[in-house]
């Protein structure tokens, strides 16, 4: 089976210990985590992990099974890129003097679909959100012209299908409402 990018979505209780518990499952199988993002989700007090890995589907299935088995994991899914809407955000800190030799800032931003974050006397910071290849190509473009710092966030993603987490939690509440 060939390796592919898979995005694992994990809905969990809000417990800081889960990060290492989940990471350990990837570690055990020598799977490199390409990116990981933890944030609140659409459900109150429920956290969502978005983890991107490059593995075979056979492997990701087993890993997701082992993640879902963790007591405080509510539900875990894996998706291919086609099943998701996803983005990453990159920040570029640029030395003004070098940049100005080549580009005009306003045109540059428009052309590259990027946004100004902040301007200081010697440098400025722009932000671009998009797919990996888009933030990557902007990086390549800026590299020769005073790119002082570059950082990219982990992937954030929502699925095209419904996740049904609220329904699952509601079911628990109604079946256990007597106590």
């Amino acid at each position: 089976m060939e390796k592919k990018n898979f995005t694992v979505s994990v809905y969990t209780e809000n417990n800081p210990g889960l990060l290492s518990r989940i990471a350990a499952i990837f570690l055990k199988r020598h799977i490199n985590i390409e990116s990981i993002t933890v944030s609140k989700s659409e459900v109150k007090e429920v956290m969502r992990f978005i983890i991107v890995v490059n593995v075979t589907e056979e492997k990701i299935k087993k890993v997701v099974g082992q993640i879902e088995k963790q007591i405080e994991v509510i539900k875990a899914y894996y998706h291919t890129d086609e099943e998701l809407i996803f983005q990453e955000t990159a920040l570029y800190k640029i030395r003004t003097s070098d940049f100005e030799k080549e580009w005009k800032l306003e045109d540059f931003l428009k052309e590259n679909n990027a946004w100004m974050v902040t301007v200081a006397p010697d440098f400025f910071v722009i932000e671009k959100t998009g797919k990996r290849h888009e933030t990557e190509s902007l990086y390549e473009k800026l590299k020769p012209y005073g790119l002082m710092q570059f950082v990219r966030s982990g992937r954030i993603a929502v699925s095209k299908n419904e996740m049904q987490i609220s329904g699952m939690l509601e079911k628990f509440n109604t079946t256990n409402s007597n106590s």
Binding site: A24, G65, N176
Partner: protein, 576 residues
């Protein structure tokens, strides 16, 4: 509405003001815990102080090492089906629990381990005896949690017991800071009845069971391989009914031992590396393989790419993560086998499979002639391990609990010991933890005081937890300890002989006078090395009403066969 992540049933109604430490004891009592194993130290002293006050209600057994506490709790849990409890102090006390916790995790044993922790104001400062035991135990626990506030104690402990015993059981570790043990809380106890993020038992899909039944009903050469899931699910009687109704030969994994009587005519023995010839060979000939409560460990399957490829695989399993993990199931049946086998039984058609069963008998005959006969009726000048087990069988008639350590003697014990009833085989299967047997036997005896408990241990493994003789002496736990002394780390030596040209690197042991050591603990003891004296030696041991130690000198360089070498297919099992 208040957010609910778990549900609780009210048990005790009145509320009392108690310290966190006392609350821990009260929780244990509410959960029906009568015996715990542990070792004191600074960070757990408030709890020990309460144990002193509650000593008429909770029996605390002082083991001689925290590893012994976990194994004893495991032995207790394995024979009773209840949750075993071990407690220890922070730092080294906590890290000494790790081996037992890992063992319990891989063998699905319900444990609650409670560790003391430095005061919460010191957390993260590398304080004296501070270790991140929650971090350390994360990959080897079903759940773990650190308590820093006394008020959390009742709910967290209620969850701990619920998690440890429900679904596929496993170990839970609760770390409690010293200040939380000292602080007071309003105590009332509610047993946990559910956790919203945790589904202990998957929903049953009747259609899958019907499909399984149909495959079984059409099978010409069906084979059942069952594991500990049958015992954990308390489905022994159902398994027997299924086997008998459909006339299917049934083999056990090492942890499935005793879930069915040894002498049952459809019990065809053990699968796996040192299992029986018939079930291993015929795994690669059956047309439907019915796996029940087992997880296709690599010591069971040998080379996976050549494991039962010809067969349709049906997998009855409670843990969805085990399905398709090692072996892809054609028909997975999720659920507790106690439920799923009930439905299966209804759908099954009576059958006999006489010719197919004859094949197992024929292969057993080959194994008997080549191996078993000589092992049971050895003629060499030195004793063999199997004849010792057989002599014990002659006494116990299969009614004893057999606790084995890890190595050659374990394989021989599991191959030859007879069992009449379930929960009678206690051994470290998945982790293969040397040193397991002596403390596990203590726990087993305390869990089932009316049953005979015999520990079978190698001279190597015995010395890994030999200090528990002190516990046996002090607590007067009347177990029978048999050390099969071959002067070697026998199982490793066997591999060195077979696969490393007899280079016996660090496997020969100069041993102390074990009998003298046992005497030092005032444990009645004996030593035997001659065949003519074996019978009497076993008789004296079995008739003793107190702890008893018997060292049997056995042949130094015997090998355990049959054997599936690593990387070989199950059908390439070697008889010599």
């Amino acid at each position: 509405m208040e957010l609910k992540t778990a549900s609780f049933e009210k048990v005790s109604t009145e509320t009392t003001t108690v310290s966190g430490a006392e609350a821990v004891i009260k929780c244990l009592l509410e959960e029906g815990v009568g015996t715990i194993y542990g070792y004191p130290g600074g960070a757990i002293m408030p709890i020990y102080d309460e144990l002193y006050k509650y000593q008429d209600q909770i029996h605390h057994v002082l083991t001689r090492h925290e590893q012994g506490a976990t194994h004893a709790a495991q032995g207790y849990a394995r024979v009773t089906g209840k949750v075993g409890v071990a407690i220890a102090t922070s730092g080294p006390g906590a890290t000494n629990l790790v081996t037992g916790i890992a063992d319990a995790q891989i063998d699905s044993t319900p444990l609650v381990c409670i560790t003391g922790q430095v005061g919460s104001h010191l957390l993260g400062s590398d304080a004296f005896q501070e270790t991140d035991i929650v971090g350390i135990s994360t990959p080897i626990t079903k759940w773990n949690h650190q308590i820093t506030k006394a008020s959390e104690i009742p709910e967290v402990l209620a969850k701990a017991f619920f998690i440890a015993r429900s679904g596929r059981p496993g170990p839970v570790l609760i770390d409690i800071t010293k200040d939380a043990q000292f602080a007071s809380l309003e105590f009332s106890y509610k047993k946990c009845s559910g956790i919203r993020s945790y589904t202990p038992t998957p929903e049953i899909d009747l259609l899958q069971i019907e499909r399984a039944a149909e495959a079984i009903n059409h099978a010409k050469k069906p084979l059942i391989v069952f594991g500990q899931g049958v015992i954990l699910g308390e489905a022994e009687a159902l398994l027997k009914q299924v086997v008998e109704k459909a006339g299917i030969p049934a083999a056990w994994t090492i942890l499935g031992l005793s879930a069915m009587p040894t002498e049952h005519p459809l019990n065809v023995g053990m699968v796996g590396m040192h299992g029986n010839y018939g079930p291993n060979m015929l795994t690669n000939e059956c047309d439907v393989l019915i796996a029940i409560g087992m997880r296709f460990d690599d010591r069971v399957t040998g080379d996976l790419s050549r494991y039962a490829k010809q067969a349709k695989i049906i997998h009855f399993e409670i843990d969805p993560a085990e399905v398709h993990k090692n072996v892809t199931a054609d028909i997975p049946v999720l659920g507790n086998v106690k439920e799923t086998l009930k439905f299966l039984l209804e759908f099954l058609k009576p059958n006999k499979h006489t010719a197919w069963h004859q094949k197992f008998k024929d292969l057993y005959k080959i194994e008997f002639d080549k191996i078993i006969k000589d092992e049971l009726h050895a003629r060499g000048s030195e004793l063999g391990m199997a004849e010792v087990i057989e002599e014990i069988n002659n006494w116990t008639k299969g009614d004893a609990i057999i606790v084995s350590d890890v190595g050659q003697h374990q394989m021989i014990a599991c191959r030859y010991a007879k069992f009449n009833s379930s929960r009678s085989n206690v051994t470290s299967g998945g982790l293969g933890t040397m040193g397991f047997a002596l403390p596990a036997a203590m726990g087993a005896k305390m869990g089932c005081p009316d049953r005979e408990v015999v520990a079978i241990i190698g001279d190597g493994g015995f010395q890994m937890t030999i200090q528990e003789l002190g516990t046996i002496f002090q607590t007067k736990i009347p177990i029978k300890i048999v050390v099969l002394n071959n002067g070697f780390l026998g199982m490793v030596r066997q591999w060195q002989q077979l696969f490393f040209d007899k280079r016996y690197a660090s496997t020969e042991m100069i041993n102390p006078d074990f009998v003298a050591i046992a005497r030092g603990y005032q444990i009645k003891s004996n030593h035997v090395s001659e065949r003519s004296k074996l019978k009497d030696a076993i008789k004296e041991m079995m008739e003793a009403n107190e702890p008893y130690f018997l060292e049997v000198k056995v042949e130094k360089e015997n090998n355990v066969f049959p054997m599936i070498p690593t990387g070989a297919a199950v059908s390439e099992i070697r008889l010599e």
